[in-house]
């Protein structure tokens, strides 16, 4: 799972059709062309990352190839889906430093 997954760069669902992917790609390129702020970043599970026209073109090219589209779809879906809510016996203690009263660590 890479933050540069083509589906995330274009901001389309992994189940989108080739037509939808092409339309969304052109739309983002157009927005980048006119300097729209909203198009300069994209959101993925890693957070908000910067995006430029080269990345968008590469992503579109990758998704035109059916095999690469299948691969990218598989990788994009790997990080999405219902998450387990089970509490593990040995899970990390995120607020461990608060036990010692360390708010700044």
């Amino acid at each position: 799972m890479s933050p540069k997954n083509a589906f995330w760069v274009l901001g389309v669902s992994p189940d989108a059709t080739p037509g939808e992917i092409e339309r969304e790609g052109r739309k983002v390129l157009g927005l980048l062309e006119i300097g729209a702020e909203s198009a300069k970043t994209y959101t993925c599970p890693f957070g908000e990352l910067p995006r430029d026209a080269t990345m968008v073109r590469e992503a579109m090219a990758a998704l035109r190839d059916p095999k690469r589209r299948a691969k990218e779809r598989c990788l994009a879906k790997l990080g999405s889906g219902p998450r387990s809510e089970v509490e593990d016996m040995d899970a990390p203690l995120a607020d461990a430093f608060l036990i010692g009263g360390y708010r700044g660590l």
Binding site: D88, D90, A96, G100, G101, L105
Partner: protein, 500 residues
């Protein structure tokens, strides 16, 4: 009559090391502050004698005037004595109130750590602890701590602890700003620097500072879910927090907690610790493919985002990826149209393995404990083995080159190098297991010993730091039954066990 014997003993101790020029000089060094502290102690003893005389006078003639004199003398004795002998515990308690500047200047005034002579480092450490308790540390405050620490001339254990704490504060700042990789790098540095302190000679690190280092390491281990490391601190080195956490770890492992650990838990009465005790005692395996997939999504996502995941869950992720990305598994995540394409499936395995390589190279994962190797885990193992061994080789080459050129750097860089190499060695052990470690032992021992000798024998000497190098090598030499190396390191430890 003045108690001359203890005064003479104190002066002798304070001047030991410089007059003999002993390479292994025990005792503490005669820094100006140490001498000043000895004179402070002498004055305090004098004041104590005057107090006793005043009490004697008061018992003969009981007047209010005499009571006032006794009260003044007793107050001076208490305040002066507390400043001389109890500076660390008092200022440590004051630091909890989050007043960095106040504890910094009070630490200077009380000549903190006169025996190791690290007043600047001690004051900086206390100021750092105060900031750590207060939270919301600014860039300006971190820079102030750094500038104070740079003034330290003696680079013993307290210096290392202050340096490690500054790195930990930087890690928290970066994490708050969502700069995850930078935060991980600083946190890793802080961890290895604190870890180095646990190999220090007791002469070169005050007990309170060592206990603070163990507390930091235990809390960091809890944050990373390295629970077994919680039992490493001995009774005298463990603070209340460490003892309380250790009691939970013992309970989870099915062994009874020690009485002092139970007392620590009661004394701490922390809701966070109590939450730990309410966790399930056993892990339930997933009942079906859907549940296993939900577990995979949760832990894989946390891993690639750089969040902490327990070693057991990290191994589960690898096993689940092996299963769910196998084309013949009935509930495979691979789309039907590509399952027959071996090259494409392999490229998916490759990409998933790559996404985990950097994560595991930083945090480590006990890969050697995996019983069944699949397409993803095999790639992760191969990538990690290559990456860690290459990293070690280049680090050792660099050290050998420095030794050849007798190249010395500032104390920050040298502390970091010693800590980094030890951390890398431990990461290899943790990730690839004892067999892989045995392969790197000889070249590591040679280069790391070179680094220790460089620190010990070239100017400016940093023998306490060199001691930590030799101590690690000594422990490992015994483990690998390398008698020659063990004897050599024992000799090196004797030479560098002082603070000069």
């Amino acid at each position: 009559m003045l108690p001359l014997a203890p005064i003479i003993l104190l002066i002798r101790l304070a001047t030991r090391g410089t007059s003999t020029g002993s390479s292994s000089g025990s005792g503490f060094s005669a820094t100006g502050r140490a001498v000043l502290w000895v004179f402070g102690v002498m004055s305090w003893v004098g004041c104590l004698l005057l107090t006793l005389a005043a009490i004697g006078d008061w018992s003969r003639e009981r007047t209010w005037e005499r009571v006032e004199i006794v009260a003044v003398f007793v107050s001076i004795d208490v305040v002066f004595g507390a400043g001389l002998f109890l500076a660390w515990p008092i200022l440590r308690a004051l630091a909890r109130r989050g007043t960095p500047k106040l504890v910094y200047y009070l630490a200077h005034a009380s000549l903190i750590f006169p025996l190791t002579g690290e007043t600047y480092a001690g004051a900086t450490l206390l100021a750092g602890i105060a900031l750590a308790h207060r939270g919301r540390v600014t860039k300006k405050e971190v820079r102030w701590l750094e500038s104070r620490l740079k003034r330290e001339q003696r680079h013993l254990g307290t210096f290392g602890a202050a340096y490690a704490l500054i790195e930990a504060l930087k890690a928290k700042r970066a994490d708050d700003k969502k700069r995850r990789l930078v935060a991980l790098e600083h946190a890793q540095r802080a961890r290895t620097l604190f870890g180095t302190l646990t190999y220090f000679s007791p002469r070169a690190i005050p007990p309170g500072v060592l206990r603070f280092a163990y507390e930091y390491l235990a809390l960091d281990d809890a944050r990373q879910a390295h629970w077994s490391a919680m039992l490493l601190a001995e009774k005298g080195q463990a603070t209340t927090v460490v003892r309380a956490l250790a009691s939970w770890v013992r309970e989870q492992a099915g062994e009874p907690a020690k009485p002092y650990e139970k007392r620590a838990r009661r004394r701490l009465a922390s809701p966070i610790v109590e939450r730990l005790f309410s966790r399930p005692k056993e892990s339930q395996p997933p009942s079906g493919a859907a549940e296993a997939h939900a577990l995979l999504i949760r832990d894989y996502d946390a891993l690639v985002r750089g969040r902490a995941v327990s070693p057991r869950s990290s191994l589960n992720v690898l096993m689940l990826l092996d299963t769910f990305l196998h084309p013949e598994y009935p509930d495979t995540l691979l789309p039907e149209d590509i399952r027959g394409d071996e090259a494409l499936v392999a490229s998916i395995h490759e990409e998933v393995a790559l996404s985990l390589r950097d994560v595991f190279a930083r945090t480590g994962v006990p890969l050697f404990a995996l019983k069944n190797i699949g397409p993803v885990s095999a790639r992760v193992y191969e990538a990690l083995e290559t990456s860690l061994l290459e990293e070690m080789q280049s680090a050792l080459d660099r050290v050998n080159e420095h030794k050849k050129l007798a190249y010395r750097r500032d104390p920050f860089a040298e502390w970091l190098e010693v800590a980094y190499l030890r951390g890398l060695y431990r990461r290899i052990e943790y990730t690839l297991g004892p067999d892989a470690l045995a392969r790197v032992w000889k070249p590591f021992a040679y280069a790391y010993c070179n680094l220790g000798v460089l620190l010990s024998e070239t100017w400016p000497r940093r023998r306490p730091l060199a001691f930590s190098v030799f101590r690690l090598l000594s422990v490992e030499a015994h483990r690998f039954q390398d008698q020659q190396q063990a004897q050599q390191q024992l000799h090196n430890m004797t030479v560098t066990s002082g603070v000069q």
